[in-house]
Symmetry: C2
Subunit: 469 residues, 2 copies
């Protein structure tokens, strides 16, 4: 039986950095991947492909606005070549996966295998390769990083051809003319605006009373208005969903918030109703690992109930983000190498929704702060007053910086503006380091950038406090 | 004689925030502006108008790249409507100036006058209004914030019609076909790339051996390669400049770095060779204020040699940045209101060159760190490996984070990538707060954004140190 120090199962944004970091620190590591390359859902079916398509959508939208900026061109003749977009996507994914593989090859002790790993005991696993052969691996420690996949909710008709999930839609053979999206959370909104910009007629359906569930309420409201203004139909508070075939189309029936029977006809249906961990076939039953359908149970050092076996990323359940998985995994690698570092904490996490405009968040929302009983204040900034936003012709946008009332330490940052994603660097640092707002006010942000908003917002809050005291 | 607490001379990014902050804190303030509105050079002739034009240039460039992103349109038929750009510029400038004026109107104790102020004594000034009438103002304290204007270097022919400075070019009546730019510092490069994208043939001439004088050398080299690849001619290390008229054109003669006589013909010449403070007519001779052609002398609290009279912004000489002036002025306002706060320090300053791609910097360059005898290391990141940069089709880009060797505190950040401006929020905070790189590594930057580069760069540096130890 072949032996290694650490067996890592799953080569996504959780498993790959952990495996590379451990190998770099001298461990003999075997990384097993059931897919075709290094990168996981994020690279092949999630964050990256959706952002590649979104970049084309953004450019088409900007092209249509050219005249206002003094660029005269027959933009009404613009047509989307979906095949070019798919080819560009495939090229970038392959480039990134190969770059990761190349990086791995340069690390002694890093050994990549393509196959399916199954635990036989707390220190042994079988890898079934693509050709059907199996390898037996003994390990000192293991990391389970098998990720997640889209839910298939119990909606009548969900298995009809033409009903797609968030991964399938990114490789669809041609652009649908009309797309009904079930689920108006961050991913549903992001994909809805993207395909709307590319010319698809979008209908968003949401069971909850509001779109963008976990997002700051003020930002979600503002973004919802923008989405509606773009001509996307939104129906919230719906129930009794079902899908049926109608000729070449799909008919989605539901009861709307007013209790009335409603329906929408489209050529494709996209269902975006969450994800669940990949636990099947892992041989968890041959170990003491506790788990349920929401994920694997771990302690504060990501160790499962089976000593020596760890888990990281989506397979643990919420939050499910590539950067969260990577942060966990890098801390875990240090931990396993005997160089303890703090494990990431959910209240320091960040996220970007690549809506139009982008929506960035780091740390706590007001709702979370209230639930935790934190006394906080909010520094606000309206991007309509912002020089950079005006230059880019941004018609709306809001920044909120939440800070503890007494310590004035930042606990949350929420921004809606095109470019908000890049503002989350400062935001993530603020919440992670727990810096007081005086430090933001004193930092010399360059002009004209969106980052100035941070300083202007907290200066106003500080001035208001000074007047109040 | 009318009396006030504080007389502020100049309503640019230095004077305006100081005046508003002081009035908000209960002072009776008179703000005197010699121009037409609130905003100064930055708003009317500098940062903002150039960025508005640059936005049109950026959109035209992206439009020409549409096909690669799967957007098919007859982009070769695209034409620049310069009048539309000028009108858009005028609209935004007016909107911003009026918004500032409106904000001022809401502050009791804030009194705006349009005219020219001249000091008659250490506590009295005369304001000459547009109609020729004068007002006499007594003040307890004064702030001189009169800014700067472009140099007019002693080059033969510099006064010929068609030789423009960095302010005049932004309001030129039509796009020149060929433009020779004397001075390839940050502003020359920014304007050169902008007009090049709009279709003007650009020739950059620089007396120094390299372009982009104060910029990190690695970034300057990379940007220079990009500029050359765009078809902009660059000639550095030149001397013996002269300009003469040749029919409808202007001929610039010079000696190139090889000592050969050279010349370039164009319809306009832009000279961008620095700025000097506006000191004339201020009545400085009626006070003890010390000054020379580089600016007014002040102490560490921005007080001139005349007690009670302060100065801020470009009128102090280098560095000349709108955000630097604002940072100084806000600290000064607190100081004058008896609420001392730290004054900004040059080593915490930041800047963005809106080149293609953007170039952002905060804190010290390697050259400055060496000159100050600081033991430092550099964390690097090549944006060609970056997901977000690949999505945006960025073909080059580099991040450098300088940190003190022992304390690991960040002392400088330099980034070349489209979007680098927004990365300077985190950068400015890092250098201002002197945070160690471990905090960057631990902050959870969202994926896929350019901000991840900060974490990846310092993690690599930390891993390298760990191996070395």
């Amino acid at each position: 039986m072949e032996k290694c120090d650490v067996l890592v199962i799953g080569a996504g944004p959780g498993g790959t950095p952990a495996a590379m970091a451990l190998a770099s620190m001298g461990k003999k590591v075997i990384l097993v991947e059931a897919g075709q390359g290094l990168g996981g859902t994020c690279l092949f079916e999630g964050c990256i492909p959706s952002k590649i398509i979104r970049e084309s959508a953004r450019r088409l939208r900007e092209l249509r606005m050219a005249k206002e900026f003094g660029i005269e061109a027959p933009v009404n003749e613009a047509r989307v070549n979906w095949q070019t977009i798919l080819q560009r996507k495939a090229r970038i994914l392959q480039m990134r996966s190969q770059a990761a593989r190349h990086k791995g090859l340069q690390i002694p002790g890093f050994d990549l295998r393509f196959g399916r790993a199954s635990l036989l005991s707390p220190h042994e696993a079988a890898i079934t390769l693509a050709d059907g052969s199996t390898q037996s691996i003994g390990f000192e420690q293991a990391i389970i990083a098998t990720g997640s996949r889209p839910n298939r909710p119990p909606i009548p008709g969900i298995d009809l051809p033409g009903v797609l999930d968030s991964e399938q839609i990114l490789s669809i053979e041609s652009l649908p003319e009309r797309l009904t999206i079930i689920g108006a959370g961050p991913i549903g909104v992001e994909l809805g605006q993207m395909f709307n910009s590319l010319g698809t007629r979008i209908h968003l359906l949401e069971v909850a009373a509001h779109v963008l569930g976990p997002v700051d309420e003020d930002l979600a409201r503002q973004l919802q208005q923008r989405i509606a203004a773009e001509g996307i139909d939104i129906d919230t508070g719906i129930r009794n969903l079902s899908i049926e075939k109608d000729g070449d189309d799909l008919r989605v029936r539901y009861t709307n918030a007013q209790g009335e029977a409603a329906q929408v006809l489209s050529d494709r249906v996209l269902q975006v109703t969450g994800r669940h961990p990949n636990l099947e076939g892992l041989g968890l039953e041959n170990t003491a690992i506790e788990h349920n359908r929401h994920g694997i149970h771990v302690n504060e050092t990501l160790e499962t109930d089976e000593p020596g076996i760890y888990a990281t990323g989506d397979v643990l359940g919420q939050p499910m983000f590539a950067h969260w998985a990577t942060a966990q995994s890098l801390a875990l690698a240090q931990h396993l190498a005997g160089r303890p570092t703090p494990f990431p904490r959910p209240e320091h996490n960040s996220a970007v929704i690549f809506s139009e405009p982008e929506l960035g968040m780091a740390g706590l929302t007001e709702k979370q702060a209230r639930e935790q009983g934190i006394e906080y204040e909010v520094a606000r900034y309206d991007f309509r007053q912002d020089a950079r936003a005006q230059i880019m012709d941004q018609a709306e946008g809001l920044l909120k910086i939440l800070f503890e009332r007494d310590s004035r330490k930042v606990i949350g940052v929420h921004a809606l503006v095109e470019g908000a994603g890049e503002l989350m660097g400062e935001a993530a640092l603020l919440v992670r380091a727990g810096l007081p707002i005086e430090l933001i006010a004193g930092a010399i942000h360059p002009h004209p950038t969106l980052t100035e908003s941070f300083a202007v917002a907290v200066r106003a809050a500080l001035a208001s406090r000074a007047r109040g005291s």
